[in-house]
Amino acid sequence: DAGITQSPRHKVTETGTPVTLRCHQTENHRYMYWYRQDPGHGLRLIHYSYGVKDTDKGEVSDGYSVSRSKTEDFLLTLESATSSQTSVYFCAISELDRVNEQYFGPGTRLTVT
C-alpha cells in the first residue's frame, strides 16, 4: 500500500462544531484528493489539490474547505458540521503523469450527532 495515513480514523462530533481531518503522504505525489463515501453513492470528490496551495472544488464541496501548505499534508475542514456530513472520508493521491491511478488512505469514519 502507498504511504498514506489519515487522522483521526474515527471521530464523533456534535452538530455545529468545526472538524479537521488530516491526510499525510510519504510518496511525494503531486495530486491529493478528498472523497466521501456514502451507501448508494459510491465515492464523491469533495476537493482536490494539484500542488502546494493549489486546490480546486469537486462535486460536493459545499460546507468543506481544504488547505495544503506542504506537499505531504492535505487538510479537510468541515466549517460547521452537520448530520448530512456523517460519512466515511477517504484521502487519495496520484502522480502527475498517472492522475487517474489513485491510491487511497485507510479512511476516516465521521459521525455528526
Binding site: L43, L45, A92, N100, E101, Q102, F104
Partner: protein, 111 residues
C-alpha cells in the same frame, strides 16, 4: 453532470462460477478505471483502460472498454471467496479531468 452507472448493484455468485459487471455512460469517456474495495477497506486501483475496444486481463479478471468508449465491463471467471468486495468503475470525460465514480457492484460469494 457526468453520470457513470454500474449494474448490477449487487451480485451473488456461487464459488467457481463466472460473472460480469457493467459500467455505462451516456457520454463518451476519455478513459476508465476499475477499483476494488474489500469490506471495511479502502478502494484499491486495479486497472486503467484508454483505447476504444481495449481488453486487459489480470489473472481471472478481464476488463473491456467499449468500441464507442461509453461502457466498460469486468468479467471474473471461476469466482473465489477472495473476490468478495465492491467493484467500482471511475471515468473522466477529458484527459486529466476529475474522476467520477460509479455506484459500485457489491459481490458476495457463496461457498
Amino acid at each position: 453532470g457526468q453520470q457513470v452507472m454500474q449494474i448490477p448493484q449487487y451480485q451473488h455468485v456461487q464459488e467457481g462460477e463466472d460473472f460480469t459487471t457493467y459500467c455505462n455512460s451516456s457520454t463518451t469517456l476519455s478513459n476508465i478505471q476499475w477499483y476494488k474495495q474489500r469490506p471495511g477497506g479502502h478502494p484499491v486501483f486495479l486497472i486503467q483502460l484508454v483505447k476504444s475496444g481495449e481488453v486487459k486481463k489480470q489473472k481471472r479478471l478481464t476488463f473491456q472498454f467499449g468500441e464507442a468508449k461509453k461502457n466498460s465491463s469486468l468479467h471474473i471467471t471461476a469466482t473465489q471467496t477472495t473476490d468478495v468486495g465492491t467493484y467500482f468503475c471511475a471515468a473522466t470525460k477529458a484527459a486529466g479531468n476529475k474522476l467520477t465514480f460509479g455506484g459500485g457492484t457489491r459481490v458476495l460469494v457463496k461457498p
